[in-house]
Symmetry: C2
Subunit: 229 residues, 2 copies
């Protein structure tokens, strides 16, 4: 982004760092757009290179396969959310306000100012919502987890778990509540758009207020404490 943050990701995810070259940045840019457009199953490096005006071989020099590219994008996203949470809660002392602000950030991450020019955050958000869990639902989870492929998500969960503990030190499931909040945020946006009988919230024109309200209700109900506003 203009301010110059660098999203730091596990370097085993790629063969050549895509953030460092313009071809690499193009791969990121166009893979986000193309996966969003045609879905992860139909996406491949041939189509991507065609759309980019590059070649299959070149893309393969950056990523071993599309699965690792997806993990890369997912990691990028959570690292980005994590960064936004840091900024947005920076000067907040009160843990309840901090948790509220965290929830707001998770739901509206993509609406936060434009940032890194080769990443369309709002398209990426949509992609994470529909394809995100495929990153870790694979036969290779254990190996990939050992290789640290999911660290960004786990660290973010732990960061939020820490806030949860601050709000209520007696709460027995801080990590589960944290990860569930992330999963729920994405799931219920998806449900609202595609399987509305599975939820009670509605979403229209990118307005996720009802999702946000529900997440706050769930969190503060469980933590047996009142919201500030």
């Amino acid at each position: 982004m203009s301010v110059g943050i660098k999203i730091s990701l596990n370097d085993k995810l790629y063969l050549r760092d895509p953030q460092q070259t313009s071809l690499g940045q193009n791969i990121i840019r166009h893979s986000i757009l193309l996966i969003d457009e045609i879905g992860f199953e139909d996406f491949n490096f041939k189509k991507l290179s065609l759309q980019m005006g590059s070649t299959e071989a070149s893309v393969y020099r950056y990523f071993e396969n599309k699965h690792l590219l997806l993990i890369y994008l997912v990691s990028w996203y959570w690292e980005w959310v994590s960064y936004l949470i840091d900024i947005n809660t920076m000067n907040i002392e009160d843990p309840v306000r901090k948790l509220e602000k965290t929830i707001e950030t998770v739901v509206y991450a993509s609406k936060d100012n434009p940032s890194i020019d080769y990443v369309n955050e709002s398209v990426l958000h949509r992609l994470i919502i529909s394809e995100g869990t495929k990153a870790y639902h694979t036969k290779l989870v254990d190996k990939e987890n050992r290789d640290g492929f999911f660290l960004n998500y786990k660290r973010l969960s732990e960061k939020v778990a820490d806030v949860i503990i601050e709000v209520n030190p007696e709460f027995p499931y801080p990590h589960a509540l944290a990860s569930n909040m992330f999963e729920m945020a994405n799931n219920h946006i998806y449900f609202a758009l595609h399987l509305p009988r599975l939820t009670d919230v509605a979403v229209k024109d990118g307005n996720y207020d009802e999702v946000q309200k529900m997440l706050k209700y769930f969190a503060f109900s469980l933590l047996k404490c009142d919201q500030k506003k």
Copy 2:
């Protein structure tokens, strides 16, 4: 099953009803085992037919492709859970007890008596946990939803939402809580096994007691009412 229930599924999911022939039943039996073994991505009809001692062409006469087979298995699973919930809560009047029993059933569905001989329920459960959400995370969701491919899951959610409303008619998110309970049950078993930093529960040797306890804690905390025991 011996008692003679018939799991009724949308007939657009298949080309020929697999429950009606022994080849069809074999397809179900072996696809469950093989997907569990090698994962959905590496699974294909060639490998399946090889393992069954049949041919690719024969499998294609039952299912258009592996994606529809997955939806079939997922639907089968939720219909089966739904059936178990009906039996297990049949004579329970008290909604709180009913919800407790429902949660127990969801978490331990696979442990319920052996049933239909061509379905290994406990392997199927494991498969749903790791591959289940791929059934509806696809570019075709809307079309497939219109075709009624996800009815079993939606009806089950609504059934549980009804119990939730009985427990607390003021609760504003009964559908979301219901679907979230299903998602959470599977997610946290998966997390406990593969990404433990994302949860607080542990699972060993198929013992899901901690998951069950957590789900009850979440549900009854949200519904602001005490559990019975």
